[in-house]
Symmetry: C2
Subunit: 196 residues, 2 copies
DNA sequence: ATCGCATTGATAGTTACTACCAGATTGGTA
DNA sequence: TACCAATCTGGTAGTAACTATCAATGCGAT
């Protein structure tokens, strides 16, 4: 509720031009209550109810598959559940938040930090042996490239006002980056992940 | 001068526990002067004198080479000039800034935003045709993975107190992510960049 | 010596965020 | 119904980052 008013006001007047007090007034609560639920002003846009289960999804995927296939499949699957057909309201809300995240420097920075933490979680979920530093480098690069593909797809999706299906966009971005045989539904390659 | 005092104080007392006013006092200037030179407190750590020439280096590299080879080579070359032998003072300063950037959330977020802007600059410097969206996806993933390798190498370097040579670390991270034939000095692969 | 001109400084104000404490609301129990 | 505990909410006061505006200071050139 508070978050909905916040995103609306930020979109109408701009993020920096809107004070937390104004958000509180619009939501009919005190500024204290806002700070109680959202520790920082940025959280009013960045926090989302649907928690991140992607890391678990990756850990549950078959370890024999290549890294980008495991990560990419989890990303596509999560996007599909997130932007389902009967969730148009949530979809518009997600679009509004996304637009703010992309265009507002403070929000973009915090978002990228979250994404980086997510990347670390993915690398841990992959559960490769920590003893081999090469494997860690490997996983970092694969996770980073997958998240870059996700981000590129999200930006494209926002520019498109959500008309294109998000899972398809992610799959397209992954295919462009890694090759068609790497995305879910395609054939399983014999090799592992990005190697020229 | 101001920046040196800032990094020292942030390291000694912690970033959040140090006020800009204290930095100003240590440097013997007024807080206004600090804000004049460094618009935000974060800039006291993030701003560096040696500007980013890497994008130009990439643009100057042979376009026939694979993407990660072009980007990776530029990163290694820049790191080599940045941490040269007779720059021990700068090296210690860089290490101190790096430690702060890694451990302080606000600094890390701003740093990642800078890195993302850098990624966009790399993609533009690659100068692939903008008409093909697949090529854009492609370049984003390649640049992102290279920067992830760079970041992983930087973290390792900082943990190692700068004892290992930074260019070698970057080359190792790139080799682990993309294969030995992709880093500068290795053979030129016939293909392009990451494709399983 | 004086005139630009750039750098610095002081003052006052806005806003995000915190610490602390007081009242209200809710839900379970006798 | 009456009561108690816990959680939610609100007010007050304070800190610190950052901004706008204007005054003072140094400094080289004519």
């Amino acid at each position: 509720m508070i978050q909905a008013h916040a995103v609306r006001l930020f979109t109408e007047r701009g993020y920096d031009a809107t004070t937390v007090t104004e958000v509180a007034e619009a939501a009919g609560v005190s500024p204290m209550t806002v700070y109680r639920h959202f520790p920082t002003k940025e959280d009013l846009v960045l926090v989302d109810q649907h928690g991140q289960l992607v890391a678990e999804r990756i850990a549950a995927s078959p370890a024999a598959h290549p890294l980008v296939r495991r990560i990419g499949g989890a990303l596509i699957g999560s996007a599909a559940t997130l932007t389902g057909d009967d969730l148009t309201t949530d979809k518009q809300f997600l679009l509004a938040r996304l637009r703010l995240m992309i265009s507002t420097p403070a929000l973009r920075a915090r978002h990228l930090d979250n994404q980086y933490a997510f990347q670390q979680a993915i690398v841990e979920a992959l559960g490769d042996d920590d003893t081999d530093p090469d494997a860690a480098f490997h996983a970092q690069a694969a996770a980073s490239a997958c998240l870059a593909a996700l981000h590129t797809a999200l930006v494209r999706w926002a520019e498109d006002e959500g008309r294109t299906e998000l899972p398809a966009l992610i799959a397209k971005a992954l295919a462009a980056a890694f090759g068609d045989d790497m995305v879910e539904g395609g054939p399983v390659a014999a090799g592992d992940q990005p190697r020229g």
